[in-house]
Point group: C3
């Protein structure tokens, strides 16, 4: 039973596989009018509030659309830091408590500080879905990421080598993905990042504790040939110190995934990215059939539909 | 017949009691699926626009939710000063006139200047509900406030002693509440505020004219034992002059409602607050059963549902 | 077959007349409950996304309302530059591509740079409606403008003399209107603007090429008596250089349409304005029966309803 979706650690392999199978069914239903009609009957008259304290394109729109295709209603606050009582320094807890009084069936929350979703859950009378809590986690992104791997690798996540690259220190999605992927069997991680932006110790300790092999390098070419999944992310230069930036300057091209890398990759590998992309992938890479971030993003719709039905205990009848 | 909701003075005792009885019925309907189904049939296919020129958490969300539970549709502008033609200095009247042309059934308006709702009404072809007009009024808040008193005092508002405390000079809700409460019989007011932030003369003149007894003090302890309702509000320090602030500094703790005050209060008294709360109530006070601002806020949903049905002349059939 | 609505040049006279006749039918249906019920059945369960990178009052609200009256669902981003990944410099194309993945049936886009709608169309899998692209075009405004002329001139657009005045250099609507109007037969244009703000050469070249007569003047009084339509717009002083402003200062009253002009106008002429109005029309002019910008704005609802049905190929059965 899933009531709130707060962090990747809540999920185990069995639950993930169930979620993925269900997501695939939902995705198929979305392809036909008859299927859409079935989906619309799952949550009639239910109400979703999305409250965003930080910008979003994909996450908010996909939840709104998920609500629509489930027959729910949805109201959103797109810029809560300015247009809500947060502007008058109301604590998050008070806002959530009051919103619950207006009887939404679910609240999707993006907050600008780590722990926001957990603080909301502590007071909420309705399910809370974490849509990103500052540098903390972004579990619904991770769920669609791993679903995208599962789907594009034909159900075979066990045993893969996952290359996770870019800014591993600051990227909440990269962190959440590692936690989730490590639930599968025989996963090997290849972390590629500037030394300054290496994966933090909590994640590495978690891997060591569970005997999940990993390596760390600044050299993409060295590990690219082994990867079944290349998960690439943006270097968040704005979070580096001046010294870090000075050392990083001559290296920066190493962290742009380019056409020159394509021949080094496995034929059946896939390239994913949580987006937005800001130059860290050369445009022509997108033409390669292994580039999958477009369908990855679209997977957010069925994946979030399933999550909504689960937290509301609205299991559809078609399985 | 209520067409627009602009200010507290529109309501008399009989209308208030009718509104409260209806609100209670709506609140009960919201507790069952059958009741919700009845509510949804009241305003099918009706359209609400909410237009907010100032931040809001409770008011906007509760109107959106009210629309949802009445079977209506709702579109909101959460930050009209930036995202509407207000940005190009369009007068409010022109915006409202044009919005009316798109055939909403009701407009809920929060404006940053006193008189905004009245200016909108003057041009509007559809009902206008004032959701706060700068330092003017906030009548739908007052209606839920007095409803909360009526409900928690078991229908007995006549004859109560109401302690209204905090910033009485600048608080639009405190002002609206006094106008509304004074419609009942035998009300006594105890105003507690720094001298600089006393209730303004228009309100006091109104009370004298209608022979409603009131007293003013800086000393909460002195009047607390007599209160049936303690309505507490935030000191808006940002609106005080430097001299006022200098005199106020040593007094400020007097205007924090704390645990030490609880033993002084009547056993059956209730504590209300319009929120957001920013330190003027000690957190532990919330654990006292007399603290009611959480249910007070939730009362906004059925109360606003009733107002919407009234201004649209959509009286439900279940009474 | 209309798939995207990007610019005025897409429309020819026959298509415009069909659109206008349909718009009139929709407008009539909106007047009765039975008609509204018919309209609601046109696009059930369809989904509209509106994405606004610049402020809007009329355009966004009328599309939201159009969706409502067609039985569609609609989600809006009112301030995408701040609340979407545009804030993290995501290119428009990537945002649109991802939004398409969430299966809207139409996207209505206002962008702050010329060519935004065309860039969106190039990547979109669903119809794009241009709701203004910076200084480029605003075709849905032009369609409702010309519809307003057609309706208020009783179907007789051929042969009219159209006076277009104000800031013709910077006004995207004035430009779009000229392109559209020139599709009709025997149109004569009278352009009235400060010399600095004359209609740009691309438009004038287009008129010369199609043998559409036009004149240019700074003197409103000179051409006003001939006009069947007076289309008045705001002088965008913020876009003038200091030298331009210095020369313009003594002339500025000439570009305020005032009561003194009314006796010069034809009895059956009409005055239109795209709004917001910021002083360039004296308030009392609105009392003249020839002032039509209020109904012009309201025409946006049925006009945009028809466009939505056309781009989705949802032709209603009632004609």
């Amino acid at each position: 039973m899933l009531r709130h979706v707060l962090k990747s650690q809540q999920f185990d392999r069995a639950l993930l596989l169930e979620l993925f199978r269900e997501t695939k069914v939902f995705a198929e239903k979305l392809e036909s009018s008859h299927g859409k009609e079935e989906l619309r009957r799952i949550c009639p008259h239910r109400l979703l509030f999305t409250i965003f304290y930080e910008p979003s394109t994909r996450t908010r729109a996909s939840f709104e659309s998920a609500a629509h295709y489930l027959g729910m209603n949805c109201f959103s606050t797109e810029n809560a830091r300015v247009s809500s009582s947060a502007f008058k320094d109301e604590p998050l807890e008070n806002s959530i408590e009051n919103l619950c009084g207006y009887r939404p069936d679910v609240i999707v929350l993006r907050y600008h500080e780590e722990g926001g979703a957990e603080r909301a859950r502590a007071i909420s009378t309705v399910p809370i879905i974490n849509a990103g809590d500052g540098p903390g986690q972004h579990p619904t992104q991770s769920l669609l990421d791993i679903y995208s791997m599962w789907k594009d690798l034909h159900g075979e996540v066990d045993g893969i080598t996952a290359l996770i690259g870019g800014d591993l220190r600051n990227g909440r999605v990269a962190r959440s993905d590692v936690y989730l992927l490590s639930k599968f069997k025989g996963i090997r991680f290849k972390f590629v990042s500037p030394n300054e932006l290496r994966m933090k110790d909590d994640v590495l300790a978690h891997l060591r504790e569970h005997d999940v092999p990993y390596s760390e390098t600044e050299n993409l070419e060295e590990v690219l040939p082994e990867a079944d999944v290349v998960y690439w992310t943006r270097i968040q230069r704005e979070r580096m110190t001046e010294e870090e930036l000075a050392r990083f300057a001559p290296l920066k091209d190493r962290f742009v995934l380019g056409e020159r890398h394509l021949p080094l990759m496995k034929k059946n590998a896939i390239i994913l990215h949580p987006q937005p992309i800001a130059g860290e992938i050369e445009p022509r890479v997108k033409l390669d059939p292994r580039a999958r971030w477009k369908s990855q993003s679209a997977n957010g719709l069925p994946s979030r539909m399933v999550l909504l039905t689960w937290v509301m205990n609205r299991f559809p009848h078609f399985h």
